[in-house]
């Protein structure tokens, strides 16, 4: 009994870890008026000095969005979003064109230093190029010169619209069309910035590319768009991180990520999502409604998603792979942790169309507090996808008796030469394992950390080094005091 009490106490402590990135930076921002009309879109487009075709694309998306209804099928509950109250564009006021680091607003530099993301190339962790996006715009992309030597284009998507219109025109919306879903349509209409990356034929990107998103201004929505193209025989590993200040009201984040992998190309996309999750009573926090999709267009191409989801009040996110090319491979590794009143409905879609395509899904859900954590995934094997193979494993761990863990897999198979397997388990943390650790002098909290990390290891191992360390720490903080 004592032991149980003690365990609950430790659980509470583990789950009550504070959000470290909740500060707000006072920088001058320029914003669009509240609400969404055609004028807002014209305003954003004009601000970014966009060509006519871009504005047309946005308006087309906006008109389609008006026809759509907010999706209700996800296992999450939140009050209806009032789009009239959202500021759709916010940007730190620019003094002039940024050419060197000295010209970046020192306040901004401070912000990123506080987040542990240095924009100073000398001080950077060796080998990571960063595109830093604050509120609606990209403020700085590092290592651009090194990359351009290899012919790699890595810049903000606004720059890409100006400087590489052909590539943008060809690929933008080709994986996630503006008609895809409610939030994708909204994003296509109002996206403010994001990263653009093109890896040319035969190039193996020598350093990790990374985007860091930060929401700063109040009452704003963040709508970034990432477009990543890996040409034939290329390779790139891409990281994404994000944080937001602590606020009582909810903020909307509706991003779109599109990946195109051509023949023999390989893309590894890793996310550590740490948006502000709301306070212990479930007040505030980010609504994270994201559409991420990769298309393996070429034969033998590969797209691998790895995500560590610890933040956000409500998450609605399904990084997917369209396996179009023969022998292409899709992978999805996910650890999703929910605590307090967080809600997550996340998973993946693997659409097998090419022959001999393979996909692997490993999803580890951990729920604590009053949270709800759902895995929702689709594996579709079309008639043409002969000899395809899928393996899915979705495990859920429940820490406490007030939370929920759910699994909603959809498996659709339409040919007789493919093999699809799905397995899932739900359980609480093993008392035997805890006892074993404690018996050997490891205290309860450390034991819990150890077991949870061991549970998530299969996924954490897939992260690049720098991220793996951060993710492990994050996992420990999010769960501080939560095992019972």
């Amino acid at each position: 009994m004592d032991n149980e009490k003690n365990m609950n106490k430790v659980l509470d402590e583990v789950t009550s870890g504070e959000y470290k990135y909740g500060f707000f930076t006072d920088i001058e921002t320029e914003t669009a008026p509240k609400g969404l009309t055609e004028d807002t879109i014209r305003f954003i487009s004009a601000k970014k000095n966009e060509p006519e075709w871009m504005l047309e694309y946005r308006l087309k998306a906006y008109k389609h969005w008006l026809k759509l209804e907010e999706p209700k099928w996800a296992h999450v509950k939140y009050p209806k979003i009032n789009f009239e109250e959202i500021i759709f564009y916010a940007a730190p006021k620019k003094k002039k064109q940024l050419d060197s680091l000295d010209e970046v607003d020192p306040e901004l530099l401070d912000t990123f230093n506080k987040l542990g993301i240095s924009l100073d190339e000398q001080k950077m962790l060796a080998g990571v190029a960063v595109d830093a996006v604050i509120d609606s715009v990209s403020v700085k992309t590092t290592f651009q010169e090194t990359l351009s030597k290899h012919g790699i284009i890595f810049c903000s998507i606004s720059d890409a619209v100006q400087n590489h219109p052909d590539l943008v025109k060809k690929y933008l919306g080709s994986v996630v069309p503006h008609t895809d879903n409610y939030f994708a349509a909204l994003n296509a209409a109002v996206f403010s910035d994001g990263s653009f990356c093109y890896i040319p034929k035969g190039v193996r990107c020598p350093i990790e590319l990374s985007t860091y998103f930060r929401i700063n201004a109040a009452n704003t929505g963040q709508f970034e768009r990432t477009l990543l193209i890996a040409d034939d025989d290329s390779y790139v590993s891409y990281l994404e991180g994000c944080t937001a200040p602590q606020r009582d009201e909810n903020q909307l984040h509706a991003a779109v990520v599109e990946i195109v992998a051509l023949e023999n190309a390989e893309v590894k996309y890793s996310t550590v999502q740490n948006w502000y999750p709301g306070n212990k009573e479930g007040k505030g926090g980010i609504y994270n409604f994201v559409t991420k999709r990769g298309a393996c267009r070429g034969n033998s191409s590969k797209i691998s998603w790895t995500q560590v989801e610890t933040g956000s009040a409500v998450t609605w996110k399904y990084p997917s792979c369209l396996l179009l090319g023969d022998n292409s491979i899709g992978e999805f590794y996910s650890v999703a942790v929910t605590n307090n009143y967080q809600q997550a409905d996340t998973g993946t879609k693997m659409i097998h169309i090419g022959k001999n395509t393979k996909s692997t899904i490993i999803s580890k859900g951990i729920s604590a507090g009053f949270s709800n954590n759902s895995y929702r995934g689709l594996v579709r094997v079309s008639k043409k996808a002969e000899n395809s193979r899928n393996f899915s494993q979705c495990d859920s761990l429940l820490l406490g008796d007030k939370c929920g863990a759910h699994t909603f897999p959809y498996i659709k198979t339409a040919n007789n030469s493919s093999i699809v397997e799905h397995e899932a388990t739900t359980s609480k943390i093993s008392e035997d394992q805890l006892f074993y650790c404690q018996q050997r002098g490891i205290d309860m909290e450390k034991a819990i950390g150890l077991i949870v990390n061991g549970y998530a290891k299969e996924v954490l191992n897939k992260l690049p080094m720098e991220f793996a360390v951060e993710a492990q720490k994050l996992l420990a903080i999010t769960l501080e005091g939560s095992v019972g």
Binding site: L398, C403, G404, P409, I411, T413, N416
Partner: protein
């Protein structure tokens, strides 16, 4: 999506109810009339299920919605005994046999409700509510929810007859109770029937439910069955479905289980145009156990949809689901398992497994094994696979002189045996296994019962395998 105005069937049902309300309620209790009215209101405001409904995504009924099948079916006069109309393939075991013909309880006029020595009551639900209104009112509509979808609502509004079984407290029914449902109408009918089966405390019942069609005409069968399983009662249900290829069967079974009760269900589907089996199990008493199994063998353009919903409302219950299917030709299958563990339903053990074999490149399967869990001290797992027969096992057998076809049959048979081996009645199990063998050879079909007997092949039932070689 069909607009309500485009849904001719729905309009047809509503219109029929408006006109025939008094006729339907003739000699029915007030409680039945009230339910009919509520269900009618629900049907007025809600569509019949379409692909837009999450639970009906993979089963399309819309081809039926442009039809106006007959609702005005009348009871058949009892002239021939059950044995004369229908020869059951399952024999060699003791059973009390009862039947429904074209949606009406089929028996001599004076035998509409039989009371046996031990207090067991079996008969027509119409007769039961007349003779035992209190018993009927206590349990009728206590398990099923007419709001489940438009078809359960139309069943509540329009049902005409059904089977009633009451097993009193402490009674163990020795013989299996077999319900044979037959359709031999020439024209297209929409038959709503409703069964109520009540097991008293500490009682035991083995129930065999057969859906058969005798001819080839299309019909739409919409059945709702309620089972009340009281404290410490034990229920076994075996369901056999062998219908013609143009029949649509919607079979909604609702089971409520009280403390320490157990239920074992086996659903065996050989044939049927479009079959949807919905199984809702409500575990409301601690220590209840539900063991739900199914086998489906479909070919041609047949469609099978098994929906299994288990609600763990209280702690210390166990449930297990095992559904296995073989799909050939252009057949399509759906499995949707749903385990719900309520808050504080601690020490729940729930397992779910669905395995499928696709025999042709045109066969399709959608499987959705869902878990929704709100308690932490539970053990829940699910698994689903879609694949082919084990090529190594096939090779092994062929290497030892077993022909390719025999080896395939043997493997498929072994695949289904995991479920059929759970059938408790020995003679029934042997008989079903035999039928599966026949079915896998493509011999068992609706033709067998056709009066013309134009194509009854006479192959040996046993596998012709020299076991010494293996």
């Amino acid at each position: 999506m069909l607009n309500k105005t485009e849904n001719i069937l729905q309009e047809h049902l509503l219109e029929y109810y408006k006109v025939n309300k008094n006729l339907l309620n003739e000699s029915m209790l007030e409680s039945v009339g009230n339910l009919r009215d509520e269900a009618f209101e629900y049907l007025k405001n809600n569509n019949l299920p379409t692909n837009k409904d999450e639970k009906w995504r993979s089963t399309n009924l819309e081809h039926l919605y442009s039809q106006t099948p007959g609702l005005d079916y009348k009871p058949t006069e009892y002239k021939k005994s059950l044995e004369e109309i229908f020869i059951c393939e399952v024999h060699g075991f003791e059973a009390k046999r009862f039947s429904m013909l074209n949606g009406w309880y089929y028996s001599p006029e004076n035998e509409k409700l039989k009371v046996f020595e031990n207090g067991l009551i079996v008969g027509s639900i119409i007769e039961a509510q007349k003779q035992y209104p209190d018993l009927f009112n206590e349990h009728f509509n206590s398990v099923a929810d007419y709001k489940t979808h438009g078809l359960t609502a139309s069943n509540a509004a329009l049902f005409k007859d059904g089977l009633f079984v009451y097993v009193p407290d402490n009674v163990v029914v020795e013989d299996t109770i077999q319900l044979i449902k037959m359709i031999n109408k020439e024209d297209n009918m929409f038959i709503n029937s409703r069964n109520l089966i009540i097991l008293g405390k500490n009682s035991e019942l083995s129930f065999l439910h057969c859906d058969d069609s005798i001819n080839h005409s299309p019909s739409l069968l919409n059945t709702v069955t309620e089972f009340v399983v009281s404290e410490n009662a034990h229920l076994r249900i075996n369901k056999l479905q062998n219908l013609n290829d143009s029949t649509t069967l919607i079979n909604s079974t609702f089971i409520k289980q009280h403390k320490n009760s157990s239920t074992k269900v086996n659903v065996i589907t050989y044939n049927g145009g479009l079959i949807r089996n919905e199984l809702f199990v409500d575990l409301v008493g601690e220590g209840a156990d539900a063991d739900l199994n199914g086998v489906y063998l479909m070919d041609k353009k047949q469609h099978i949809d098994n929906q299994v919903f288990v609600n763990h409302a209280v702690p210390n219950c166990t449930s297990s689901e095992l559904f296995k299917g073989v799909l050939d030709d252009k057949a399509s299958g759906v499995f949707n398992g749903y385990i719900f563990v309520a808050r504080d339903a601690q020490h729940t053990m729930a397992f779910q497994q669905n395995n499928n074999i696709l025999m042709s490149s045109d066969a399709k399967i959608d499987t959705q094994p869902f878990l929704e869990i709100y308690a932490d001290d539970v053990k829940c797992s699910h698994g689903a696979t879609v694949g082919q027969l084990d090529t190594e096992a096939l090779f092994y057998m062929k290497q030892r002189g077993i022909s390719h076809d025999d080896a395939l049959l043997l493997l498929m048979f072994a695949f289904t045996a995991e479920v059929t081996s759970k059938i408790n009645i020995e003679a029934l199990r042997l008989s079903i296994e035999d039928m599966i063998k026949k079915r896998l050879r493509g011999e068992l079909s609706i033709c067998e019962k056709c009066v013309l007997h134009c194509s009854v092949p006479e192959y040996p039932m046993e596998f012709d395998i020299d076991m010494s070689k293996i």
